[in-house]
């Protein structure tokens, strides 16, 4: 392609009707989120190494915990409770939390490449830049979680849940994923550089997943950490999902508490995200 075929034909006029359809704000937000979400998904197969990276990480956790720590964890569990079942749920939720960081990374990348300012200069609903990112990251989280579950079946995961329990567990995992995408968005918008998001973001999230019931009952953690570890919302999500899928420990009120925590978090985090987004120009 030589530049000789640049026609000098650029004209301001167009035969098309370039007037925007006017829509209610909420409809416009959904429409714009879908457009941005689709754009983010179009990018995925063209960055296949990245997709492999985010899919493989939870699989590595799964295989390492399954074959290295399952024996040890088994000794902390009552007779008849499968350590594999126990660990798989923790690893699924940890994977979901980490995939929320993709949202932060993606937003920081858009800022770095100058797309954020292009979006901000358009007459669109600006929150759609974040929501569209989350739509795509949720799709990727589903893909990576389903992959992990399939591999888990192959290495001995035997959940006891009926259909209703599966649906409830999927609901809790989905809500957790959604919340962590928003938290990722806050980190991505607040920190501004891609490098800071991947290092500081993970350092901030890591303790939440380890000081929890994800891999071992909180009774076996140092006593000064137990109170936090047993009652923090990530542990509640893990416990609820475990109870629903494996029947151990009892679901009790953990599912409701987890849902309340996450809804409360969203009430704070969504307006915070919108504020951070508009402040970016400064």
């Amino acid at each position: 392609m030589s530049s000789t075929d640049l026609t000098n034909d650029v004209r301001l006029s167009s035969a098309l009707n370039l007037t925007a359809r006017s829509k209610p704000r909420f409809v416009q937000l959904l429409n714009d989120s879908f457009v941005i979400g689709w754009r983010n998904l179009l990018r995925v197969p063209r960055q296949i190494d990245w997709l492999i990276g985010v899919t493989i990480m939870p699989l590595m956790f799964l295989l390492m915990f399954r074959y290295i720590f399952a024996g040890t964890v088994q000794m902390t569990l009552p007779q008849g409770v499968s350590a594999v079942n126990y660990l798989v749920v923790g690893i699924l939720l940890q994977g979901i939390v980490f995939s929320g960081m993709n949202t932060g990374y993606g937003l920081a990348m858009d800022a770095k490449e100058g797309l954020m300012d292009r979006f901000r200069s358009l007459p669109m609903q600006h929150l759609a830049v974040v929501l569209g990112r989350i739509v795509a990251d949720m799709a990727i989280a589903i893909f990576s979680t389903v992959t992990t579950i399939l591999v888990a079946f192959a290495v001995g995961f035997r959940p006891t849940a009926n259909l209703g329990e599966w649906l409830a567990a999927i609901g809790i995992m989905g809500l957790t994923a959604f919340v962590f995408c928003w938290l990722g968005a806050v980190i991505g918008l607040a920190l501004k550089t891609v490098e800071a998001v991947s290092s500081i973001g993970f350092s901030a999230i890591m303790p939440l997943t380890f000081i929890s019931s994800a891999f071992i009952s909180t009774d076996f953690l140092p006593s000064w950490l137990q109170g936090f570890a047993a009652n923090q919302p990530f542990s509640l999500s893990v416990n609820a999902t475990r109870g629903l899928l494996n029947g151990y420990p009892d679901v009790g009120n953990t599912a409701w508490l987890a849902v309340m925590w996450w809804l409360g978090t969203l009430v704070v985090v969504i307006p915070l995200t919108a504020w951070l987004f508009e402040k970016r120009g400064e």
Binding site: N8, S14, R43, D117, L122, M124, E282
Partner: protein
């Protein structure tokens, strides 16, 4: 789509501070409808801050801004429909194809998908990108990428275009192509506000020029007016390698005073050993100039008389050569 008021861009008293730093100290920018205004200024002068305010990306601390009759500060969403922004701060997606980019932006402007698609095809053809339309942008040359970027800002045929250093980093041929495109748009009635670090670009495209430095407008007018302000023609005198530049400068200053020129108007560029001095007698006095130089013992290796350029204007006004200006940091 057109705008018929007298001024398509009217900003007055723009002020913006970042902590202690005053990026803009009260800047007025007026662009007559259907004309091109070139905004010049060294790195950190405040021109990027002004552009970001006019394109709704930044809130000023004080001042008013109106584009195509829309109050930018009160109605940013309406303003975004009448301004096309292209340049270093508003990029396109490198991992999408040219067509996918244009369709996405079209939909974000609120166009129905069928219209967004048809508009993408139309723009790709106008910009000579039809063949490349279905390739991802990573495979584009710098010139192609910049054309797509401009196309993206023209999706709804806005009456006002803001071009932030539109040809920085392009090869001369792509730059000439881009100038042609901008001239076409202007002849169709588009109003353009252009920031540039190439004075040649401002000279060719801009009807009027404002020079911003330290957050203030320090000069404005047409390119010719600015050059005339600077007085008559210039003598460029290069001397041999190994000459004592300080000695030559002193002799030249003494000589200049006999021509009625102040000593501080003698400029020297040490690494090229070139002196520039205003020469009021012009071409008619050229032989006299040669004799005068000989009489004070200056033997040029190169010697020429020329009209002042915008570079001279710039140097005079800001004390920096234009080449010292680089792309501004992302936030001034």
């Amino acid at each position: 789509m057109g705008y018929s008021g007298e001024y398509a861009v009217r900003a007055t008293g723009l002020k913006k501070s970042y902590g202690e730093t005053q990026a803009l100290k009260g800047v007025d920018i007026h662009v007559k409808t259907g004309t091109v205004l070139g905004v010049l200024g060294p790195n950190g002068a405040g021109k990027t801050t002004a552009v970001r305010i006019l394109t709704t990306l930044l809130q000023p601390d004080a001042g008013t801004a109106e584009v195509a009759g829309v109050d930018v500060l009160a109605h940013p969403d309406q303003a975004r429909r009448v301004i096309g922004l292209s340049g270093q701060y508003a990029a396109v997606d490198e991992i999408l194809t040219g067509r996918e980019n244009l369709i996405m932006f079209g939909q974000l402007y609120g166009l129905p998908k069928s219209i967004a698609k048809a508009r993408a095809t139309e723009l790709l053809a106008q910009f000579g990108l039809t063949a490349a339309g279905d390739r991802i942008l990573k495979t584009y040359s710098g010139g192609m990428r910049r054309r797509l970027d401009l196309a993206a800002s023209l999706i709804v045929a806005p009456p006002v275009l803001v071009l932030d250093e539109p040809t920085t980093g392009l090869d001369p041929r792509s730059r000439a192509d881009m100038w042609q495109v901008i001239e076409n748009l202007v002849s169709d009635g588009t109003t353009v506000l252009l920031t540039t670090q190439y004075l040649e670009e401002a000279d060719r495209l801009a009807n009027e020029i404002v020079v911003i430095d330290h957050g203030l407008v320090i000069a404005k007018g047409t390119a010719d007016e600015l050059k005339t302000q600077l007085g008559g023609e210039r003598l460029d005198i290069s001397v041999a390698d190994g000459s004592n530049l300080a000695e030559v400068e002193q002799s030249l200053q003494q000589l200049a005073s006999t021509w009625g020129i102040a000593g501080n108007e003698v400029l020297v560029e040490p690494h090229t050993r070139r002196f520039t001095v205003p020469y009021p007698a012009g071409a008619a006095g050229l032989m006299q100039a040669v004799r005068d130089l000989d009489s004070v013992g200056i033997h040029p290796t190169d010697f020429s008389l020329r009209r002042p350029t915008l570079d001279d204007v710039f140097l005079q006004l800001t004390g920096h050569a234009a080449e010292d200006m680089e792309g501004d940091g992302s936030y001034e």
